[in-house]
């Protein structure tokens, strides 16, 4: 059975469909990329999963339970963590405090000890390579480092599903390779499923195991990365938009 199942999920904003009857699933442990032109509804889809938006129709199932109406903090405690394109860490707190908050609150029945939360935060930070920055204020880190803090914060609650929303936008080549490698290691080490919305095609081709293409809020096609990218409909959907293979 799939870990996450979206069944005919819809979201309308003022009558306009942003997500228009999307049915997708993610299997345990896979890295699924969701791609599509700007405005295809990719980010909205992620927001519907985590409860930042409530679907106008359809259902979201996670681990066999209906989470369609759950508020974000409940979704997180069930085991779905999200990292967004714009860093949402708390700038006036240290790196360690940020990650410890995720470790303490991001789990079901999160009445673990604070000590324990701090310890697991330290561990995750050394894993993403930020151990030496743990007492710095997040506001003093660069974008790339802030994304790593968010990744650390996301996995510190030991989620089963990790959603990444264009977390590789604006990175240089070295940072991009480091990020790709990190996501893969996170999946292997923490045994999480990754659903990943991305615009940087180079990253998609080298990391994704399966790709879903969205266009105008609908699923255009899905399959293996190299097959999907060769399909005529996908190429047409991207026409007028530069496919960032480079």
């Amino acid at each position: 059975m799939a870990l996450l199942e979206l069944d005919q999920v819809e979201k309308h904003f003022g009558g306009l469909p942003a997500v228009d009857g999307v049915t997708v699933w993610a299997d345990d442990g896979e890295i699924l990329a969701i791609v599509g032109p700007n405005g295809a509804g990719k980010s909205t889809l992620l927001k519907l999963i985590v409860g930042l938006e409530t679907p106008s129709g359809g259902s979201v199932n996670f681990g066999g339970e209906d989470i369609t109406q759950d508020p974000p903090h409940r979704v997180r405690q069930r085991g779905i963590a999200m990292v967004q394109q714009t860093p949402r860490s708390f700038p006036s707190m240290t790196v360690l405090e940020n990650v410890a908050i995720g470790a303490l609150f991001g789990r079901a029945g999160s009445h673990r000890e604070e000590e324990e939360a701090l310890e697991s935060a330290e561990e995750v930070l050394s894993f993403v390579g930020l151990a030496d920055r743990r007492l710095d204020y997040v506001g003093n880190l660069n974008l790339h480092q802030q994304r790593f803090v968010e990744l650390a914060r996301a996995i510190s609650g030991q989620p089963k599903l990790l959603l990444l929303d264009e977390v590789m936008a604006g990175l240089n080549d070295a940072e991009l390779s480091a990020s790709i490698e990190l996501v893969r290691t996170i999946r292997d080490r923490y045994e999480v499923t990754v659903i990943w919305v991305e615009h940087v095609m180079k990253a998609v081709m080298s990391l994704a195991e399966r790709v879903v293409v969205l266009d105008f809020g609908k699923v255009l096609t899905e399959g293996l990365p190299e097959d999907v990218m060769r399909e005529q409909s996908v190429i047409e959907a991207y026409l007028g938009e530069e496919i960032k293979l480079a």
Binding site: H73, R76, A81, M82, F90, L104, F105, G106, R107, G157
Partner: protein
């Protein structure tokens, strides 16, 4: 001059603590609570009634703090629910209208049912000399309690995970929800705390001057001014702004006159908005 400044510090500490309760509720829930001063006065009256009923001052104060917290809980569970669901201007406007209504109702009930003087706590014993200035024991007790409350607040927000969770909502509510923090739970906790803080300020205030049934509005106004100057959602900002404005207040009352003091304080707040809109230590949007 030393005496004036010391008086200013005593007053300023209380201003600061008063503002904490207002600024946290605003930072966390977008609610500008205009009934805040009335919460303080209502709690003071509970203390007075409890003492009339024969309870010792200490126990009566405890009951008063509880009553303040209960007031906060009640607001959170009823009138403020629809406010939390709104965003932006609509949220602030609705919170202003609803809490102003509560303020009127509480004021009306109190002045109708009770004598003017609500609470005076007489702290016995002679004056104590500080820097050669004789200070009333009541003022010293009040300052001691207020400083202790600030220390507790700083510890809570800096060193406990729950405190950090509250700060995270003030900084970025969506981000906080995404890491598993339930904003409604935190808001309830902060509303209750703000009621307790209001009660505590009313109690410490009554150690140096009587708190009357009509003190509510001036409590709210002072809290608002300190909040604006200190920055919304900042405990440290409220502390420093409270001290600053307390000292300005006593200096201006002493050398210029009480009638102009409020104007001077309001000008300080207006000036802050013009020069530094996020306040001394506020969270910039």
């Amino acid at each position: 001059m030393t005496a004036v400044i010391l008086d200013g510090i005593v007053l300023g500490l209380q201003f600061g603590l008063l503002a904490v309760g207002l600024t946290l509720v605003y930072g966390l829930g977008g609610v500008l609570n205009l009934a805040y001063g009335q919460m303080a006065v209502a709690a003071a009256i509970v203390v007075a009634l409890a003492m009339d009923a024969g309870l010792s001052a200490g126990v009566a104060v405890g009951v008063g703090l509880l009553a303040g917290g209960l007031f906060g809980l009640l607001l959170d569970a009823t009138l403020l629910r629809p406010v939390y669901r709104l965003r932006g201007e609509a949220q602030i406007l609705l919170s202003l209208l609803l809490t102003l209504g509560v303020a009127f109702i509480v004021d009306g009930l109190l002045t109708w049912q009770l004598p003017l003087e609500a609470l005076t706590l007489n702290i016995g014993g002679g004056a104590v000399e500080i820097f050669g200035v004789p200070m009333r024991r009541g003022s010293l007790w009040a300052s001691g309690i207020t400083v202790a409350a600030f220390v507790a607040l700083f510890f809570f927000f800096r060193s406990t995970m729950l405190g950090r969770a509250v700060r995270s909502i003030i900084q970025d509510e969506e981000g906080a929800r995404l890491v598993g923090i339930d904003p409604n739970r935190m808001r309830t906790m902060i509303l209750v705390s703000s009621g307790v803080l209001a009660a505590l300020v009313a109690v410490t205030r009554s150690m140096s001057i009587p708190v009357t049934v009509t003190s509510g509005i001036s409590f709210t106004i002072f809290a608002l001014i300190v909040t604006v100057v200190g920055g919304l959602g900042s405990v440290a900002g409220a502390f420093f702004a409270g001290l600053l404005l307390g000292i300005i207040n006593t200096i201006s009352s002493f050398y210029i006159g009480t009638f102009l003091t409020l104007i001077i304080l309001l000008s300080a707040a207006a000036l802050t908005i013009l020069i530094r809109p996020s306040g001394l230590l506020g969270v910039a949007e």
